[in-house]
């Protein structure tokens, strides 16, 4: 007897949109010699001193559970780090949780604050998981679309326009994936006034904080009166080149943390112990290496922004992360057509902008977490691709005449 599994599956789960990135990954993975600007993680390997500490932890037999919120020693280091780098103060004993990746921090945050039907504002283009995380927690993601005209920065007016009595929180991500857009202190302060006026919370995804280039990074929790309203999410993946470790953390007012720890103890228990030991070393002794990687990304950003603009793919200069988000409207193609053509014809992988929301249509995400040599080759190929598109168009015009 064949079973109709649809009747067993959760309607919420079935309703989730498949990630636009996934489709593209399946295609790219079948091809050889692809130069990828499609990768959302550092091309650096975790600094050796951090790896060594995790190995040592294993040698020592550090294989038992830790406290739900993580090793107190690590939470202490996180507390020091947040204070030293971003001037926000959190108590290691009751205001910080070490999670399995920053993604889990986001999941915990939404599960802790969302009642069925609560609305959470998501600023698009946005990381692919945000809307799904809100939906799985029973909430309703409300999309706020930004535009390239002002470098994809969300304005207080855009936010206020969609706020209803059901709005519970805003999810902010600065520097942003996929646009690289970074909000400065003034821009965050302007958003803060809306947050206060409408009595909202902010889930602030600060995973790219270390990768900020032209100005100092400002944590949303450091904006006056926002500490009480902020769930700060950060982690080790991007700045410390530790994506595969799956280690993130969140920091928030104690009453919120209490509920999140409760959920965490039932779902996950704790983050892997030996990896937490490595993370202690990351915070204690890696600032020089983190800075060196940042400098490297900064140089690549300068290079890729100029290259793309020279090719004719208009591109704003993003203040952070390792993504640029150039417009491909000039090509007359949709984002997906452009990305597929580029992959087939020139074997360069980029991510179609519409994977990050409707407002990403007409753009592609290029990651510069690749060596300058790779980026240089990719740029030459993209230029060649643009020329071939122009030739096709000219030929079509000739025929039309």
């Amino acid at each position: 007897m064949s079973i109709d599994y649809q009747q067993y599956l959760s309607k919420t789960a079935i309703g989730l949109e498949p990630s636009g990135i996934r489709k593209f990954f399946d295609l790219a993975a079948t091809m050889d010699d692809v130069i990828s600007l499609g990768v959302g993680e550092p091309d650096f390997i975790t600094p050796w001193n951090i790896r060594e500490l995790a190995i040592q932890a294993l040698r020592e037999g550090q294989t038992a559970y830790t406290a739900n919120a993580g090793l107190l020693e690590l939470r202490q280091e996180i507390s020091n780090y947040l204070y030293k780098r971003f001037l926000v103060e959190y108590q290691p004993e009751n205001q910080i949780i070490v999670t399995v990746g920053a993604s889990q921090s986001l999941d915990l945050a939404f599960r802790a604050i969302i009642n069925s039907g609560d609305e959470v504002l998501i600023i698009e283009p946005a990381f692919v998981s945000y809307a799904a995380l809100v939906t799985m927690a029973g909430g309703v993601p409300i999309r706020v679309e930004t535009s390239a005209d002002n470098g994809f920065k969300v304005t207080p007016e855009q936010i206020e326009e969609v706020i209803t009595h059901k709005t519970k929180a805003i999810l902010l991500c600065s520097p942003n994936n996929p646009t690289g857009t970074s909000l400065n202190r003034d821009e965050l302060t302007a958003i803060a006034s809306v947050v206060e006026k409408h009595d909202l919370l902010v889930v602030s995804d600060e995973i790219y904080a270390e990768l900020t280039y032209d100005q100092e990074f400002t944590s949303f929790a450091a904006i006056p009166n926002m500490y009480e309203r902020t769930i700060l999410v950060n982690g080790f993946s991007k700045g410390f080149a530790m994506t595969g470790w799956r280690l993130g953390f969140l920091a928030a007012p104690q009453e919120l943390i209490n509920v999140m720890v409760k959920i965490y103890q039932y779902t996950t228990m704790c983050a892997p112990t030996m990896l937490q030991m490595g993370a202690i070393e990351a915070l204690r002794n890696s600032s020089e290496q983190v800075e060196k990687m940042r400098q490297n990304y900064w140089r690549r950003r300068n290079y890729i922004v100029q290259s793309l603009n020279q090719i004719g793919l208009e591109c704003h200069t993003p203040g952070g992360a390792f993504y640029v988000f150039p417009s491909i409207k000039k090509s007359g193609l949709t984002s997906e057509e452009f990305a597929h053509g580029l992959l087939q014809q020139e074997k360069v992988a980029v991510v179609p902008g519409n994977a990050f929301g409707a407002s990403g249509e007409g753009y592609i995400r290029c990651s510069y977490a690749a060596s300058i040599e790779q980026i240089e080759i990719a740029m030459n190929r993209i230029a060649r691709y643009m020329e071939s598109l122009a030739r096709t168009e000219n030929a079509a015009l000739e025929i039309a005449k």
């Binding site: 993975a29 990768v39 959302g40 994936n177 300068n302």
Partner: protein, 167 residues
């Protein structure tokens, strides 16, 4: 000497790969190409950039295999010129790849490259040991090069293990 941020950034790029074009450096640092040229010239003239060596693994090439020895040399320094004169006598030999004055139990560290062990042994006994004021030599033959000038020779860490596309 104090360098500007631009100069330090240029050095950081060249330190990773000296084979990079001035155009690329200019784009990476948001400078003009001319400006990059001028600054590199200046750094070369000031001998801050001393040379642009290429690291070649000769042992991978048939007929080009080389043997390397590091020799600890004890000397009697001379009045007035200290170690410098003996050092010059040693570094003038083309067989000498590097020469450092060291603290500790010996004075000069000499790196020699040759085709055979015998060639190196002859150099030590006929040339190095006979220099006046050289008191003793201790020769260590290098068995394997794991890392040279910050570069891991046969490492596999630079292999990209990431998925082609990820969020």
């Amino acid at each position: 000497m104090k360098l500007t941020n631009q100069e330090l950034n240029i050095l950081a790029i060249l330190d990773e790969n000296h084979n990079v074009s001035a155009k690329s450096i200019a784009m990476q640092l948001e400078m003009t190409e001319e400006n990059v040229y001028t600054l590199i010239k200046k750094l070369e003239e000031e001998k801050i950039i001393v040379s642009y060596p290429t690291l070649i693994d000769w042992n991978k090439i048939e007929g080009k295999e080389t043997i390397v020895a590091m020799i600890d040399v004890k000397v009697t320094p001379q009045r007035g010129v200290g170690f410098n004169e003996i050092a010059e006598q040693i570094y003038r030999y083309p067989e000498v790849r590097s020469l450092y004055l060291m603290s500790g139990t010996y004075d000069l560290s000499v790196t020699i490259e040759g085709k055979t062990m015998q060639e190196i042994a002859l150099f030590v006994s006929n040339k190095l040991a006979t220099i006046e004021n050289v008191v003793s030599t201790t020769t260590h033959f290098m068995l394997k090069k794991y890392k040279h000038d910050g570069v891991i020779i046969d490492g596999n860490e630079d292999k990209d293990r990431r998925m082609v596309v990820s969020p």
